[in-house]
């Protein structure tokens, strides 16, 4: 890819593939400095089009030039702007040009270059970056075509391969299970006992699917009911209600999904607690998730009709299985996207487009 035409398109980037979190933190641009960064980038000689993709896991600068533009000038500019050594930046970044840029973007938008293979959030982030570049009028013929084709490639990959099938995030796996029991997750009433990381992840996943009835309870609620405590913090963060710890057992029948995530090692839900609550809602299913180690919910509750109990091992196993299934699709997807990229690149370097 060293022909002159290849010089017309490039990307300089840093992602989880070449840099650890601390390095990415140094290279990533703060949101309030983006305007300034774009201003400086625009002053680089012979750079006709440019676009910045700046996410928590990825900082990439795409550019196009009609003349022999050197990527190193962008590297130097970025190192100056972020006040980091050029050598450090070189070590923790990658450079692509020509057709490789097209392949790279296709892999980014389709999610196969993401840390969590097949995740869909990246497509939204790329679209946002592209919209921003369009508004600034810094994206031209070359980048417009590249990104629009990138969005099409992402859609194709998600529709025709298994890279996005099955949930791999624990919170999303729980939502998927809830969907298989109740249908619409937004109608599920969720009770979270405890305030661990899994609890937060699950609340976030349920909230993002429109669930409004989220209730949080925890032992710290009783210790200091008048001061700020974890249940209240979660409720403030995601919206919902805080329930006094002493009352949750009497209210079990009001909830469709109950997640226990404490480190107490105590039994939070015993057979009789669940049995008595199911008497008040016999025909409605109850989805219980025990995200605690040691477990907080007695295993015997799964014998009650219409009760579905999952522990962290079950949920992790599902997530891992889905991830494995996605990974098996990556090579096939990469190969097809590579062919599509080559085809697009061949069209892009036609004289009528480049010159």
């Amino acid at each position: 890819m060293n022909s002159p035409s290849n010089q017309s398109l490039f990307v300089l980037g840093c992602s989880h593939r070449v840099a650890d979190l601390s390095a990415r933190e140094l290279i990533s641009l703060p949101p309030d400095s983006i305007d300034e960064f774009y201003d400086g980038l625009g002053k680089l000689t012979d750079l006709d089009e440019y676009l910045l993709l700046n996410t928590c896991n990825r900082t990439e600068i795409y550019g196009a030039s009609k003349k022999n533009f050197s990527i190193n000038s962008v590297l130097q500019y970025l190192s100056r702007f972020q006040n980091i050594e050029q050598e450090f930046l070189k070590r923790h970044s990658y450079q692509r040009s020509g057709c490789d840029v097209v392949s790279h973007l296709f892999e980014v938008t389709s999610g196969i270059d993401s840390q969590m293979v097949g995740e869909t959030e990246i497509l939204g982030q790329v679209k946002k970056a592209y919209d921003d570049a369009c508004k600034r009028k810094i994206s031209g013929k070359m980048l417009n075509r590249l990104f629009q084709k990138g969005f099409q490639a992402a859609k194709w990959a998600r529709t025709n391969t298994g890279i996005s099938k099955g949930q791999v995030n624990l919170g999303n796996v729980l939502c998927e299970l809830a969907r298989r029991i109740f249908g619409k997750v937004e109608n599920c009433r969720l009770l979270v006992i405890g305030t661990g990381k899994v609890a937060e992840m699950s609340i976030e996943a349920f909230k993002s699917r429109g669930s409004q009835a989220i209730t949080v309870t925890g032992r710290t609620f009783e210790w200091c009911p008048l001061s700020r405590n974890k249940p209240n913090e979660l409720v403030e963060k995601f919206g919902g209600f805080a329930l006094p710890f002493s009352q949750y057992k009497d209210s079990l029948h009001l909830f469709d999904v109950i997640l226990s995530s404490t480190t107490s090692g105590l039994t939070m839900l015993g057979y009789h607690d669940v049995y008595n609550s199911m008497k008040k809602r016999p025909s409605k299913p109850l989805f219980l998730i025990d995200a605690s180690v040691p477990r907080n919910i007695e295993e015997s509750v799964s014998k009650i009709d219409n009760v579905f109990l999952y522990n962290m091992d079950d949920v992790s196993e599902i997530a891992n299985k889905n991830l494995k299934s996605r990974m098996s699709e990556v090579e096939r997807c990469k190969s097809i996207l590579g062919q599509r990229a080559q085809k697009l690149w061949d069209q892009m370097i036609q004289p009528s487009i480049v010159s």
């Binding site: 099955g166 299970l177 969907r179 298989r180 025909s283 299913p285 009709d305």
Partner: protein
């Protein structure tokens, strides 16, 4: 292929439904081709159109609603099953339900076609009179059989419920389970089908009842006893569910058992003779004894 022969058409219908079923399975096991995405539904409609035509041709032969032998009754139930599915499918996308329905229609249809005893040519007998001399009885029989079609769909939904429940209890994300609707939706769909089925069966019994009430020599036939038993059984199941005494897996299992009783009860319906040389007995000539 003779498109004017009802049996040949029914074989074709069975073939179309089995192809639809395998297409649905392919989709489930990730061998789905985007070009063939709506093919299952289109094939179901084509199969249903041929099915309707086959029953229409048979109706012309027997001079009435074709319910004179086991083959006709089962084919009528399967036709009702697909009709009920198509109505439900118009309201919401339920591809997996279609796969199950086409599987059942294909299997049931092919099975009854392979058994020659199920399809005697009773309309070729000497002194053959119309299967239903009274239109009210014809209405009673066809509505009753249609309600059986709804109960068949109910049993399909119940099977789907049990598969989904088993998948959830086994705590594994199997492929089939992930394509099935949520269990709560399946239970709601089941109770709606049960209600509509009971309504049709009630209407059928009322229509038949009005006719029999006007008859001087009315005998309570075995078939009528079973029909009444089924009506009572389905109504009790409905009431128990309404009172939250019967729900979930027990409700699903009960409806499946009742479906098998419904199917078995068809054998109690007297079938017309195949022997063309043998004149029909006066009892066979009396349409009220047949339904």
């Amino acid at each position: 292929m003779d498109f004017n022969d009802s049996r040949e058409l029914l074989w074709l219908v069975s073939g179309i439904y089995s192809f639809t079923f395998f297409l649905g399975l392919l989709k489930t096991f990730k061998l789905d081709l985007p070009q063939l995405r709506n093919l299952s539904f289109v094939l179901t409609i084509i199969g249903f159109a041929f099915h309707t035509h086959a029953l229409y041709l048979r109706g012309l032969e027997v001079h009435g609603c074709p319910l004179g032998n086991t083959l006709e009754r089962i084919q009528f139930i399967l036709w009702s099953l697909i009709l009920a599915f198509l109505i439900v499918r118009l309201l919401c996308r339920l591809d997996m339900l279609g796969t199950f329905c086409s599987g059942l229609a294909s299997l049931g249809g092919a099975l009854v076609l392979t058994l020659p005893d199920c399809d005697p040519n009773y309309w070729l007998t000497v002194n053959y009179t119309k299967l239903f001399s009274n239109p009210w009885i014809e209405l009673h029989a066809s509505v009753a059989i249609f309600s059986y079609g709804l109960f068949s769909l109910l049993s399909v939904v119940s099977v789907m419920y049990l598969i989904q429940r088993k998948a959830l209890l086994s705590r594994k994300f199997d492929k089939l389970g992930s394509f099935l609707p949520p269990i709560q939706d399946l239970e709601i769909a089941a109770i709606r089908l049960l209600s509509i089925g009971i309504l049709f069966l009630t209407f059928s019994i009322l229509v038949g009842g009005i006719h029999w009430a006007n008859q001087e020599n009315f005998n309570l036939s075995g078939k009528l006893v079973v029909t009444l038993f089924l009506w009572i059984a389905y109504s009790v199941v409905f009431l128990l569910h309404y009172r939250q005494r019967l729900y979930g897996s027990k409700f699903a299992k009960t409806t499946i058992v009742l479906f098998f009783i419904t199917f078995a009860s068809l054998s109690l319906v007297s079938t017309r003779s195949q022997n063309t040389n043998k004149p029909l007995t006066p009892e066979e000539n009396n349409p009220s004894n047949h339904q």
